[in-house]
């Protein structure tokens, strides 16, 4: 029987997806929806791994998805931090402008709809400014990396397992062969 495909290649591809979806300003807003970008990366890693299987190989198992998801999450956490840092250094605080625009529109709409009390809007803006300032500092970036290294492997693993459930071959039911008479 042939060996299973190399997990690292698929994990790298999944990690790259996570890094892009979590590190590029604007795209990283996907993660506001329960880490959707990270989970998609995990799903993609399993999909890429699944495509490498041939009929001669043993079937993909959930343990493969588990390992691929965790590795993709670790790679994605580092990748996202690097990409985000590069955007900060090279292009300036694009992310800040994007987020601020989004934030202002949302707060304005919420205020019009009565979703937030008028007095608390200024507090929300101040809180936003504080978090933005912190994300530009070295300490804030390091803290973000530590948090990402904890969270991304977990959510990427969950995404990979969900992906496995969708992409796996359905197991063959064990049927007892009829006794020869």
């Amino acid at each position: 029987m042939f060996e299973k495909p190399n997990k690292l290649r698929s994990a790298l591809m999944g990690g790259a997806v996570i890094g892009l979806l979590s590190g590029v300003p604007g795209l990283n807003l996907l993660n506001c929806c329960c880490c959707l970008g990270i989970m998609l990366g995990g799903v993609f890693a399993v999909y890429a791994y699944r495509r490498e299987f041939t009929d001669e190989m043993p079937p993909m198992e959930s343990s493969d998805a588990l390992i691929i998801g965790i590795i993709a999450g670790i790679i994605g956490a580092v990748g996202a931090s690097v990409i985000s840092g590069l955007f900060n250094v090279v292009f300036g605080p694009i992310e800040e402008r994007l987020l601020r625009g989004f934030w202002d529109k949302l707060v304005q709409r919420l205020e019009e709809q009565g979703g937030v009390p008028g007095g608390s809007v200024d507090d929300l803006r101040a809180q936003m400014d504080r978090s933005m300032a912190e994300s530009r500092s070295l300490g804030g970036m390091l803290r973000g990396l530590v948090f990402a290294l904890i969270l991304y492997p977990i959510f990427a693993m969950l995404g990979a397992l969900i992906g496995f459930a969708f992409f796996r071959k359905k197991p063959v039911t064990h049927v007892q062969p009829p006794q020869a008479t």
Binding site: M1, F2, E3, K4, L29, N31, C32, C33, C34, C35, M57, P58, P59, E61, S62, S63, D64, A65, L66, I67, L106, V107, L110, Q113, G115, V116, S120, D123, L124, S131, E134, R143, G144, F147, A148, I150, L151, F155, L158, L161, I162, F164, A165, F166, P171, V172, T173, H174, Q176, P177
Partner: protein, 190 residues
């Protein structure tokens, strides 16, 4: 858990149940503990901030990686928003409730159910978010609670069997056998 066997092309029966039931139950308790810890953090952050503890900011920053944390879209505790928004709170709380339900009914997590209910719940949540973002239909708090709860309640029924199976898979197979693509415990079918 029993009966999760499959045949490969050579007629070899792979038995996935190499993890003792007691270990599986411990694993489920571990998942429930982690889910409870996660939910405790969600409620702990506003309480700590209200009490003036500095660690609250770190906790908010931690959950800020997985949620937008908009005050207008979050429930409040002691005048402070929870660490995640309404939809996320609904997902995590119903996830925890569902894991506890699984603990009560261990026979219900021996097989992965059909993916259709999960796909439907995920699509419903995505549709709600899409309609809201595009301005076609505003997502009310009730919508967010219902769609989030559905997804959170369904997820453990898929993730727990997969996790148990995956961890059993990691435990059962020595590297040398993995390299040859053969399971350790095989038995020939009659």
């Amino acid at each position: 858990m029993q009966g999760r066997e499959r045949l490969d092309k050579n007629g070899i029966c792979y038995d996935n149940d190499f993890m003792p039931v007691r270990t599986q139950r411990r694993l489920l308790i571990g998942i429930a503990f982690l889910a409870a810890l996660w939910c405790t953090g969600i409620f702990g952050a506003p309480l700590m901030r209200h009490a003036g503890l500095g660690i609250a900011d770190h906790l908010y920053a931690f959950y800020g990686r997985v949620c937008h944390q908009l005050g207008g879209r979050s429930w409040h505790l002691n005048g402070e928003p929870l660490a995640v928004c309404v939809r996320c709170s609904a997902i995590y709380l119903s996830f925890l409730a569902s894991v506890l339900a699984l603990l009560a009914f261990p026979s219900r997590w021996s097989r992965i159910p059909s993916m259709i209910p999960l796909a439907a719940a995920l699509s419903l949540m995505a549709l709600d978010a899409f309609l809201n973002v595009t301005g076609i239909a505003a997502s009310t708090e009730l919508h967010r609670v219902i769609t989030g709860s559905l997804v959170g309640a369904l997820l453990p029924w898929y993730l727990v069997p997969l996790l148990v199976d995956a961890i059993a898979g990691v435990r059962r197979t020595p590297r040398s056998n993995v390299a040859q693509g053969e399971p350790v415990h095989v038995r020939k079918t009659k």
